[in-house]
């Protein structure tokens, strides 16, 4: 589903070399590693948001949900349907899905609020739903549990498990119980970065 080969990312003072790896379809792959080992860097290169050397083969549409949720200055609902609107999809067909996801993550009462006014945890949930609503093939979640309370983490776990048959997840997380619940495969980072 995603294959990386000889992947290298260079910043001004540090260089990351990633071990070759295949992320499998309909599996939940966890990327682990300490702070600064390049997890976000890896996700961003997988989704072509940064420049890299080497080969990344991706089958299908991929989307990256960032560590700090970035929402647009409009309602929660409009944030969620943004990917549908730019694809000219019929929003009515997604009504049920939106209802369900927002209910599972307990943000269904916030649909009409301006998204920039939400709490950090609520923002993360909106951003996650926006990432999965349009059925991408691969979803990259960068620390989705930060800002989430314990119940919300359980709710998110449920949602991801339910979607597992349709989507492929690659998740960065430091939350061990969340990781244990979901992990099919693990890709560990560390030690492969060189400072110049």
């Amino acid at each position: 589903m995603i294959e990386i080969k000889g992947l290298v990312v260079r910043y001004k003072t540090v260089e990351f070399k990633f071990d070759d790896y295949k992320f499998k379809k309909n599996m939940i792959s966890i990327i682990s590693g300490r702070n600064g080992t390049g997890k976000t860097t890896l996700l961003k290169s997988l989704s072509s948001l940064i420049e890299y050397e080497g080969n990344i083969k991706v089958n299908g549409e991929i989307t990256y949900n960032s560590q700090e949720p970035i929402l647009f200055n409009r309602s929660t609902y409009e944030n969620i349907v943004y990917p549908l609107r730019i694809r000219n999809l019929d929003l009515n067909l997604y009504k049920e899905k939106i209802d369900k996801y927002t209910r599972v993550l307990s943000i269904d009462h916030l649909l009409n609020e301006n998204a920039l006014k939400l709490s950090s945890g609520e923002k993360m949930k909106v951003s996650i739903i926006r990432s999965i609503i349009f059925n991408p093939d691969i979803v990259l979640l960068d620390e989705p549990t930060t800002h989430l309370d314990l119940e919300s983490i359980v709710e998110l776990t449920t949602l991801i498990k339910e979607l597992k048959n349709e989507l492929t997840f690659i998740i960065v997380s430091h939350n061990s119980s969340f990781v244990e619940e979901l992990k099919d495969e693990e890709y560990r980072l560390g030690g492969n970065h060189v400072y110049s």
Binding site: S47, L49, E61, I62, T63, Y64, N65, S66, I70, F72, N73, R74, Y82, P83, I86, R87, L116, K117, R130, S131, F134, P136
Partner: protein, 227 residues
């Protein structure tokens, strides 16, 4: 003397002297038109500069920022040289059109510069997010415009303030001709030089009132954004 002149100024304002109101109207009309034109092109230009990568980008930005602070009288001089030089045939010297052109050029860098500054702060993350959700270039430009809308409105108001309050450019290319190209600021300058302070104060009061309204609007947009 200040009190006396101010009293006379207020009297003048309520005398509905047609010359004064013609001058106010002309000032507002030229500055509004100039700001509207500069805002339209400036917004597009500002967004294009900030989202595109090109060779002379840094240099272009420096030029824009320099022109944001150009003294109006220098801009007036540039336009004067142009309309009496290469564009001599168009007979623009001492016309309202020349004033409109000079003010448009004066406001343009203010809009472009402010939009570059504001969109560079927000655009990287917003554009990255849009990209990963599948947006194309057109979607990204419209999204960015919506996201920085309060900043655009703010720069438009700043631009209008500048146009309305400058003397140098309109004086040089318009010539301050009575009942023709005379606007509020050139009127003040003229009356002042003739010792007619009450006239100046009357116009000054109006300019202040307009500035007050504009800045109230500005504060509102700012509030909108940081809310």
């Amino acid at each position: 003397m200040i009190i006396e002149s101010t009293m006379k100024a207020v009297e003048l304002l309520f005398s509905f002297d047609s010359e004064i109101y013609t001058i106010i109207f002309l000032s507002l009309a030229i500055s509004l038109l100039a700001t509207a034109t500069a805002s339209f092109f400036g917004t597009i230009l500002g967004i294009l500069i900030s989202i595109s990568d090109f060779k002379l980008k840094r240099f272009t930005k420096k030029i824009v920022f320099t022109f944001m602070g150009i003294p109006p009288v220098v801009m007036g001089l540039v336009v004067l040289l142009l309309i009496t030089g290469p564009f001599d045939g168009m007979n623009l010297l001492f016309t309202k059109s020349a004033m409109y052109i000079a003010q448009t050029l004066l406001v343009l860098p203010i809009i472009v510069g402010n939009i570059i500054i504001s969109s560079e702060k927000t655009q990287k993350k917003i554009l990255e997010t849009a990209t990963t959700l599948g947006a194309n270039k057109y979607h990204k430009i419209t999204l960015l415009i919506k996201e920085i809308k309060p900043f655009i409105l703010m720069s438009v108001i700043l631009g209008f303030s500048r146009a309305l309050s400058e003397v140098g450019a309109v004086m040089l290319v318009g010539g301050n001709i009575k009942n023709d190209t005379r606007v509020m600021t050139t009127y003040i300058a003229l009356n002042n030089s003739m010792g007619e302070y009450s006239m100046s104060i009357a116009m000054g009061i109006i300019l202040l009132l307009i500035a007050f309204v504009l800045h109230t609007l500005l504060a509102r947009f700012r509030g909108d954004f940081y809310d």
